[in-house]
């Protein structure tokens, strides 16, 4: 049983001081429905945490709480060790938390640069500073090694699903963000495009960002995640380093809230599980 507790964190985590974002005892209810109950969650910098759970487990609710859309009824949020209150998406953005929702929120008729700067355009007094924005966008995309787009002045409508996801992610990391929340980033993608997006997530991690990925797809989770957190009916039933899980235990936690399969699988067994 690997219920979350700071004592059971692996050495690599214990070495770093506090995780970037720490939730303690978060509860949220809508009328009679208890969406989240005493949830603890750690999102360390430089690591990908996968948030798993069945439909209705509270994944979206938890994400929206971190993103500032919902206010928790109870519980505390610590950002870089300090307690904070995230009252609005603006507060979240101020801290450096950006969310990429499943529908990506891109305007098809605008090009990549225009989308990445949407609502935060750079100006020279009255007019838009296109050259400056184009340079910054090109740098961000190059930093993420998004090189498959032909021109950053191409309308988003002409991009593939994977490229659109890449643009949405690049838009999120552009603002010195430290934590990126990705809601089902691969749900609508084919195999090749999924691989591209997972590679992109690894690069975010390499840049030292904390990443939380919500995903139904355990293949993707095991390919990209460093840690797994499993929600079931609003409770955090498991949270640990990925080596403590295999696919069966994750499914057990998602469906029944516990796993009787015992210890973490031997190294190598995990490889066999992939694909």
């Amino acid at each position: 049983m690997t219920v979350s507790a700071s004592a059971s964190e692996p050495a690599s985590l214990a070495a770093t001081s506090d995780p970037l974002l720490k939730l303690r005892g978060i509860s949220k209810h809508f009328g009679a429905v208890q969406a989240l109950y005493q949830v603890d969650l750690d999102l360390p910098a430089g690591q990908v945490t996968a948030l798993c759970g069945d439909n209705g487990a509270g994944k979206s609710c938890l994400t929206k709480t971190i993103a500032g859309i919902y206010q928790p009824d109870e519980g505390e949020i610590f950002w870089e060790g300090r307690q904070v209150h995230v009252r609005s998406p603006k507060d979240a953005a101020g801290l450096g938390i950006e969310t990429v929702y499943q529908d990506l929120a891109l305007a098809d008729n605008l090009d990549i640069v225009q989308n990445m700067f949407l609502g935060r355009e750079r100006k020279t007094r009255v007019f838009l500073d296109e050259d400056d924005m184009e340079k910054a966008a090109a740098e961000t995309l190059a930093g993420l090694r998004v090189t498959t787009v032909r021109s950053i002045r191409q309308p988003v409508a002409t991009l593939s699903g994977g490229q659109r996801q890449a643009v949405a992610v690049a838009k999120a990391v552009m603002w010195n963000s430290k934590l990126v929340l990705l809601d089902e980033p691969t749900a609508a993608l084919g195999v090749a495009q999924t691989a591209m997006v997972l590679e992109l997530i690894r690069r975010l991690k390499d840049h030292g960002l904390a990443v939380m990925v919500i995903s139904h797809n355990l293949n993707d989770v095991f390919e990209v995640a460093d840690r797994i957190a499993v929600l079931r009916l609003g409770r955090m039933v498991a949270q640990d380093d990925i080596s403590a899980f295999d696919r069966e235990t994750v499914v057990d936690f998602m469906t029944s809230g516990e796993s009787s399969r015992g210890q973490a699988p031997a190294p190598g067994a995990q490889k066999a599980v992939e694909r």
Partner: protein, 444 residues
Amino acid sequence: MTGIDDLRDKPDDPLAAEVEAAPDLTAAAVDVVPPALVAQSMSQYMRAWTVRVRGGDAGVLPVVLALVGVSLVLQIVSPRGLFLSPGNLVNLFIQSSVFIVLAMSEGFVLLLGDIDLSVGYVAAIGGIIAGEFVQPGLNWPWWIAIIIGLAVTCVIGLIYGLIITRLRLPAFVVTLAGFLFYFGVMIILLGAGGSVPISSTILVNQEFLYGIVNTNIPPTFGWIGLAVIVVILGATIWLRDAGRRRSGLVAPPVGLTVAKIAFLAGAGVVVVAICNVNRGTFLPIAGVPWVLPIVLAVLGAWTILLERTQFGRHMYAVGGNAEAARRAGISVNNVRTIAFVLCSLTAGIGGVIYLSWQGGISTNINGGQLVLYAVAAAVIGGTSLFGGRGRAIHGLLGGLVIGAIYNGLYLLGLAIQWQLIATGLVLLAAVAVDSLYRRGSAGA
């Protein structure tokens, strides 16, 4: 279709991308992208542009071709080749100017996926109010009269915008109500006489309003004005392109920049030369009509607003994906409200031009037909009915197409019914092109 599908499928292979891993974002670049941004030389530019046109994004090319085609046909069939004579071309522009300005007006709301059915009568209200203030009793300065007329149309647009955004009513219905409402208001304003004439030769302010369309810039001043405009625009284009080349961004080649400026100057010379030909029958008449620089000024102002300012960018964003705009922190309601204000303001400008052109406004003004022509001109020009795509120049080009049909069929001695039929067919063709374009490009 095929060009776009090819584009979609190929670059998705992440392995291939890793192998190439070109740090230059635009290295592999000849496809459906603005050609000016990927080409380093003129030949590359031309090739990129051809590919882009075949890919379905032809910009203003279809409407320019339509304009050329319509003009050639009308030139061939018009009696004594009258259609392309200098006198008729100037006349054609004057007739088109109201359509052009109303199409630009409608463009603001079409860009958001809305529509304003009342621009015809709102234009009439603006023109009538400007006209009322230069009537014998009041005789206010002409420019104050215009400002008052335009201020009233701005208020009309503001009320539309507030009703549509705050009460969440569909623009179609609200402006349909406005159509009827302002039709009635117009009849009340015109009163018993049924018209507001401004063709007095005694009252200076009436003469001035009348002169907007019906007097010309002296030929010499026409050339001087053209030189000033070409120098300013040429310098702007040159500095922008040179700046991009210097800062290492993908920039159009020097040859293209020179070609753009040369084209601009050449077109200007042709227009001024045509206008400066004596087109009078008894007394000499020559020169650029004042309405031409006025229409170009409106075009320039709205182009800058839409394409160079943050507000314009937000309009495109709201038209393309209102939810994305909202999440990006853009106030969708404010953008829509201001779009209706700009629409009505521009309609008011169209009304003042109509007032000047006709020497007054009477109950004969057909606001219903004007709004249909305005929407048709915008769509023929390339503005999408579904929002997100549209430029001020679409109004100019579409308005000229409608003006050409209107003028050419009149020269042929064909009555109004044939103008209506021809305009209807051109509009249908334009909407079909728009719809095909959307199916081709937005299927992702």
